[in-house]
């Protein structure tokens, strides 16, 4: 009977990119997914403890961005574009900078304690700290 859950787990892994949200290893702030969502939607520029935080996303056409947007922000790519269009064209905000690979996100996060990013969970290295796998 045990093969069923194992099969389901495997199925989950191949169908969805598992996302890891990463920060600099020195970052000890307590960050929950709601706070991450507010930062990536431009609603907050600091964490609860007052630390400044800079979100870095990945290109909208990547599976990991899609997964992050759906799971953490609760928005489809169309909804997210509509949301940012309201802010961009009214001078109220700009979307997070986007890079095009997990390695780029890791380089940025490893170099700056204020940056928060997300990558495929299987790309995590010791240069960064995983704070959530939503």
């Amino acid at each position: 009977m045990r093969f069923v859950p194992v099969f389901l787990l495997f199925f989950t892994i191949i169908c969805h990119a598992e996302v890891a949200i990463i920060v600099h290893p020195s970052n000890t702030s307590n960050i929950d997914t709601d706070a991450i969502s507010r930062v990536f939607l431009g609603k907050a520029k600091t964490l609860a403890d007052g630390t400044a935080v800079i979100p870095v996303g990945q290109s909208g056409d990547t599976a990991v961005a899609d997964e992050f947007n759906t799971k953490v922000l609760g928005k489809s790519s169309s909804q997210l574009k509509a949301y940012w269009s309201q802010l961009v064209f009214t001078g109220k905000g700009t979307p997070p900078k986007e890079v095009s690979s997990d390695a780029d996100v890791i380089s940025l996060v490893a170099a700056n304690p204020n940056i928060i990013g997300y990558i495929n969970a299987n790309a995590v290295t010791e240069k960064v700290k995983v704070i959530a796998k939503p």
Binding site: D34, S78, K81, A82, F89, D104, S107
Partner: protein, 373 residues
């Protein structure tokens, strides 16, 4: 390598050192909109500019209106281009120009300097949109909302922009996010499009001493926005008098928008109380307006139902001022071609309950293609 290297340089400039040069970014939007009245009745037979009603006002601000029996694509179609020049982390210049098929001019809708005093406080000086209604500031950007056009029962007056300044405060408290602003300025519109709906002769409009504030709070699925604004409005009265009518009419607006978005289901609502005190002629026009909408997202498809009502009452006889009253019931089907492009099909049933012959009752169908880049 190069693709990754460049953002790293830009980010490290942004975060660790004062920038040595400016950055720039272009964004833009396009909406192609066509519509046709499929049936209608009533309406004035002496409508200004020789236009024939029953008719449907596409855009009060430009004065574009759909006449019976004509399919047109040049009343609401538009394209906008925004350039954002950042001189430093704190200081940027934003310019947005919009070309509209209905007018020959390319309009400078926005041009302002934006200065972040702190991470919470921003000062902006220049030309901006007046944030009267929830969708006012981005009503040119079709991709950002559900309708083919925000309901004209609420949206659209003589002025849509102002020259002035605003101060904004953005913060979050626990799970709540807050955005609040105060603004002030003036606007003068030569040969205002709005006035072509009412007068044969071109008339200028002026909103002086615009003063307003808004506060928006959001948490999870909830967004609420409260606004208050006052201004002193006047028009020219050609051919009798090319000067602005004095004393100006005193306008007061209070508005509340409450939206709920549960991911698939969403509810939109807006209540707006507009009061226009014609102090020179000793009468007062009160115009409560309401809009309620509900939609459901099925993947790329979103059916959306909306009801809106604009209902003037006046404390003088209808010969002095005939109250305008409308109910617009609409159904929109939006299809997201991809994250940056959408098609919309909309049916509007407009009931004209005004106390004089005006636009008449109409049923309108609209097709719109919206994109951003």
């Amino acid at each position: 390598m190069f693709k990754g290297f460049l953002p790293i340089v830009v980010l490290s400039l942004m975060t660790s050192q004062p920038a040595l040069a400016f950055e720039y970014k272009f964004n833009g939007f396009v909406s192609l909109v066509g519509a046709r009245i499929i049936s209608g009745s009533g309406g004035s037979d002496e409508f200004p500019m020789g236009r024939e009603c029953p008719c449907f006002v596409a855009d009060y601000n430009s004065g574009a209106l759909y006449e019976d029996g004509k399919t047109v694509f040049d009343h609401e179609s538009r394209a906008g281009l925004q350039l954002n020049l950042s001189f430093s982390d704190q200081l940027s210049l934003i310019t947005q120009v919009v070309a509209r098929s209905y007018s020959e001019d390319i309009n400078l809708e926005w041009v302002y300097l934006s200065w972040d005093l702190t991470s919470d406080w921003t000062v902006q000086v220049g030309r901006k949109r007046i944030p009267i209604y929830y969708y006012s500031e981005f009503q040119d950007v079709g991709i950002a909302y559900m309708w083919a056009r925000p309901p004209q029962t609420l949206y659209g007056w003589e002025a849509s922009n102002y020259n002035g300044a605003s101060v904004r405060y953005t913060s979050s408290f626990g799970d709540w996010s807050l955005r609040a602003s105060v603004y002030g300025g003036n606007e003068e519109v030569k040969d205002a499009g709005y006035n072509t709906i009412y007068f044969d002769e071109d008339q200028d409009s002026r909103w002086k001493n615009i003063l307003g504030g808004d506060i928006e709070v959001s948490r999870d699925w909830f967004t609420g926005r409260l606004i208050v604004m006052t201004s002193e409005n006047s028009n020219t009265n050609r051919p009798d008098d090319p000067a602005y009518y004095s004393p100006p009419m005193e306008q007061t607006i209070i508005g509340l928008a409450l939206n709920a978005d549960f991911g698939d289901w969403f509810l939109l609502s807006e209540i707006n109380l507009n009061q226009r005190d014609f102090v020179g002629d000793d009468f007062l026009v009160k115009a409560p307006a309401y809009q309620f909408g509900v939609g459901y997202r099925f993947g790329k498809w979103t059916p959306f139902f909306s009801w809106s009502r604009y209902w003037e009452s006046v404390n003088t006889d209808p010969d002095t001022y005939a109250p305008e009253r409308f109910i617009d019931t609409s159904f929109t089907l939006r299809y997201d071609l991809n994250s940056s492009m959408a098609l919309k099909f909309q049916y509007d049933d407009l009931s004209d309950e005004s106390k004089s012959d005006f636009v008449g009752d109409t049923q309108l169908i609209t097709i719109a293609f919206d994109m951003v880049f």
